[in-house]
């Protein structure tokens, strides 16, 4: 089991983190979320081009880098921490589904960044469903893909990432019961990696604030009422990171462990992420309730992510089944 990043993975993290800090800091996130398209195409061009992230997990024969899910988890943690707007997660979920189900046609377009794709997760709802070129849907053991079709944008809780009602269907582009089952587990791992980033950034924000905000002539981080909560939040971060690393390792190296690790990841990290984002917002005091402060963006993303793959209890129920309880 490998729970510590390799040197290469650390370099990948630094590269993505550095890029996002420069190209998509929170003021730019706000500008993007209020723009028509909901994200900055220029950031995506560089993300997919210079950093090659659209092709990260696409096999080399389809024009990607063929990296592992451990690398993907590193990247999603950073895009989560930066609240990167737009279809990055949506296209990533699509890439996971196509890779696992054995697609040949669509992956090259995803790898070179020319295709924005999404996956129908819940009846007819999809992340970035209005912006996607291709909508994938799961139909039994087949994957269907539809270009066009009806799209109805939704106004949702999370202003940094859009959703839409879409039409599932289209041509069959791949078929594999096993691949699709694996993809569903990998969705859970991918979302957990993003949640880990949201959790970490929420904690970092309130830790930083605790060192500069003064009340009653003391930094608020010196009060145990704040300090002890932050310590508890740090404990959640440590555990969440361990769980995500383990799940990503299992995805790459231990297929038998993947289902359990993925269900654990959603059962633990989804909840921890919302709790930390919530407490971070609350401990900011009144300013955390303002639109101008960023705390609410993390809080809303955390709640949207927690329910993205279904009510949280389904992950716990799956865990119970896998444990044969």
């Amino acid at each position: 089991m490998k729970l510590v990043l390799t040197t290469e993975q650390q370099e990948l993290r630094q590269a993505v983190r550095g890029f996002l800090a420069a190209a998509s800091p929170l003021p730019a996130v706000r500008a993007a979320m209020e723009s028509d398209g909901g994200h900055d195409p220029d950031v995506y061009r560089r993300l997919n081009g210079e950093l090659g992230l659209s092709g990260l997990i696409v096999p080399e024969e389809h024009g990607g880098s063929g990296a592992g899910y451990a690398e993907l988890a590193v990247v999603l943690e950073e895009t989560g921490a930066a609240l990167l707007p737009g279809p990055f997660l949506a296209t990533t979920l699509a890439a996971i589904l196509l890779r696992e189900a054995g697609d040949k046609e669509l992956l090259p377009g995803i790898a070179d960044g020319s295709t924005v794709a999404t996956v129908v997760l819940d009846g007819n709802r999809a992340l970035n469903g209005a912006e996607a070129d291709v909508v994938l849907s799961i139909d039994g053991d087949r994957v269907r893909a539809l270009r066009g079709g009806e799209r109805t944008p939704l106004t949702t809780l999370d202003p940094t990432r859009r959703q839409a009602l879409v039409e599932p269907g289209g041509d069959v582009v791949a078929a594999s019961a096993e691949g699709i089952a694996r993809a569903r587990d990998l969705f859970a791992v991918a979302v957990a990696a993003e949640q880990l980033g949201v959790l970490r950034a929420s904690l970092e924000a309130i830790v930083a604030y605790g060192k500069v905000r003064v009340a009653f002539n003391r930094f608020i981080g010196s009060y145990q009422g704040v300090k002890h909560r932050l310590a508890d939040m740090h404990c959640k971060l440590e555990q969440a990171e361990s769980i995500v690393r383990h799940a990503a390792w299992a995805a790459d190296e231990a297929p038998d462990e993947l289902a359990g690790a993925a269900a654990l990841a959603q059962a633990y990290v989804g909840r921890a992420c919302f709790e930390v984002a919530r407490d971070s917002l609350l401990l900011h005091g009144g300013i955390g309730f303002t639109w101008e402060h960023d705390a609410h963006l993390f809080y809303k993303r955390a709640k949207a992510d927690e329910v993205l793959l279904g009510p949280p209890r389904i992950h716990r129920a799956r865990l119970a089944d896998l444990l044969e309880l």
Binding site: T156, N217, G285, G286, F289, T290, E306
Partner: protein
Amino acid sequence: MDLEDYRQRARAWLEANAPGDRAEGTPDENGVAAAKAFMAKLYDAGYSGITWPQRWGGQGLTQAEERAFAAEAARFTLPTYVFSIGLGMCGPTLVDLGTDEQRGRFIRPLLRGEEIWCQLFSEPGAGSDVAALQTRATATDGGWVVDGQKVWTSVAQHADRGLLLARTDVEVPKHKGLTMFVVDMHAPGVTVRPLRDMTGRAHFNEIFFDGVHIPAENVVGRVGDGWSCAVTTLLHERLSISSGVGMGGQKDNPVAFEALRTSVDTGDPVVRDQLVELYVRSRALALFNQRLAQETKAGIFPGARGSAAKLLLAELTMFQADLATSLAGPEAVAYPGEGGAGGGLANAISLAPAMALGGGTNEIMRNIVGERVLNLPPEPRTDKNVPFKDLKTSGGLPS
């Protein structure tokens, strides 16, 4: 006059005069005009300022009449929101601490709804620690000049007058250099800007003071005595808030127990158990509030124990919005009317933090319960005897 007669007449008046349409939150310009018109009728009928002194325009009656009227009024939704700060906090402070000249000038127009009031204490750098405020009032010919910024001010966009707390001396410890003023919100240099909150709406305002002149006769209490004046105001605030704490607002709340029991799948035993948890917490707090109310009626003043009820309400509010969204799953995040089935859940989870932040954070409530109910020793204080100008400020933050 017999109390039952009083109640009957109040009911008759309300049935004849209460507007039928529902009024919620801050109204627009037209709504304000209508609210002022209603308030004038209410005053002229003798139902505004029921317990306030007759000399200043009140009715000089007792709590009994006040409660009788309130009980009848609870069946209507009266458009009195824009007057609530004036009636609940500013007016009572002036009755307690104002000069006769101030009482004579301000109270009758306040009770009759001719002048809307707001309260100007909180600042970006002075939230929980109100006495750390930085807005300066500098003595000048015949009065004072005010510069600074206030925040979290309700109804300021419609206000004619404000009760302002400002610093008049930075050489003395922070609690000793404050003074309270009545400020004309239409005076040159006053700018009111709506403050958008995390729900995307503007329930509050920011107020900027840029060289605003206040005449000397508008000082409330004594110069340098502003902190004890503010404590009086905050006591009135707490009373008017705590009387509203309870199960109120749960009736149409999409995340309260009664709504969830019909909206979630109680065929799942785990979901059912979570609903039981919500019921238990809701009932526990409701019964505690009812006990406090019974004690109050029996003459036992709840005091700081009301802060325990406020803390519990803040936690329950967050718990139920969190639970409801978690139970609903993906549908929870869509706003209604957008093809989503989320109903009010997205709004509820956006609004949930408000209860934990307004009227004192959970941490402040725990301090109050710990120190004033349980009499635990206070934190060591480093800001009591230091000149204000030498105190720490929040580095790198607007203040």
